[in-house]
């Protein structure tokens, strides 16, 4: 099952742009964009922690399995 990054949903829910997040977590916009579009092959714990801290969420809120998301939408 593919891992789905729900960064877009979280950003929308918090009314935050990718650029703002990039400034807060000190990760380049390019890397965040790779993560958002699901092109990332791996994520560092430090990146995960920084994003979760900035978005005030848990790692599970940010990541999910493709199948889970499909069943959740259903």
């Amino acid at each position: 099952m593919p891992i789905v990054v729900k960064l877009d949903d979280l950003l929308r829910a918090r009314g935050m742009t990718l650029t703002e997040l990039s400034e807060r977590v000190d990760i380049t916009l390019a890397n965040l964009s790779i993560l958002k579009t699901g092109k990332a092959k791996a994520i560092r714990f430090s990146t995960l922690e920084a994003i979760c801290q900035a978005l005030e969420c848990q790692p599970g809120d940010l990541l999910g399995r493709g199948e889970e998301q499909t069943s959740a939408t259903e």
């Binding site: 965040l32 993560l35 092109k39 791996a42």
Partner: protein, 176 residues
């Protein structure tokens, strides 16, 4: 990476490789011209010298084969230097861990083996010429240098290292 571009070691290496390419090309042209001359205009003269030295006429063809071998070895050497130049150029651009460099290193290892084999093959004509060496305008220097084998081994291992490094880099590229 600007650091790699201004690295004095890489600059010196590139300069030396250009010089070496020029030298090998020059040697390649000269030996090829010599071989062509031996086969055409100087043929009669060399055959006469071989006969005067009391050597069998087949020695002429031994000399031709030796010259041909030198041309092939110089060709291998030229290709080796070109491959090395490309690797140095890729280090300068800051992108050395690519599959092409692993292939280049493997090719360089095979070329080194080829040159080493050529050097050992040269012993055959040298042994044939040796009894007449004081009566012919030829100098024979018999050597069994094993350094080429060690270099080939190092290059084969480096090619493996580069392949592994390339795979690691590919993994890292998608990591955020």
């Amino acid at each position: 990476m600007t650091h790699s571009k201004n690295d004095p070691l890489l600059l010196v290496a590139q300069g030396l490789l250009v010089l070496l390419t020029g030298l090998i090309l020059f040697a390649l042209v000269m030996v090829s011209m010599g071989a062509a001359a031996v086969l055409t205009v100087q043929r009669a003269e060399i055959l006469a010298k071989v006969a005067a030295a009391g050597a069998p006429p087949g020695l002429y063809w031994t000399l031709v084969a030796a010259l041909f071998l030198v041309v092939v070895m110089l060709g291998f050497g030229l290709r080796f230097v070109i491959e090395l130049g490309r690797i140095v150029a890729s280090v300068r651009t800051g992108d050395p861990f690519c599959p092409a460099n692993a292939d280049r290193l493997a090719r360089m290892a095979w070329l080194t083996l080829g040159i080493q084999a050529g050097a050992w093959l040269m012993i055959l004509p040298a042994l044939q010429v040796q009894p007449y060496v004081d009566r012919l305008p030829i100098r024979v220097d018999l050597q069994w240098p094993p350094t080429g084998l060690v270099l080939a081994l190092v290059l084969f291992i480096l090619a493996r290292v580069f392949r592994h490094g390339t795979a690691l880099r590919t993994d890292l590229e998608g990591t955020v």
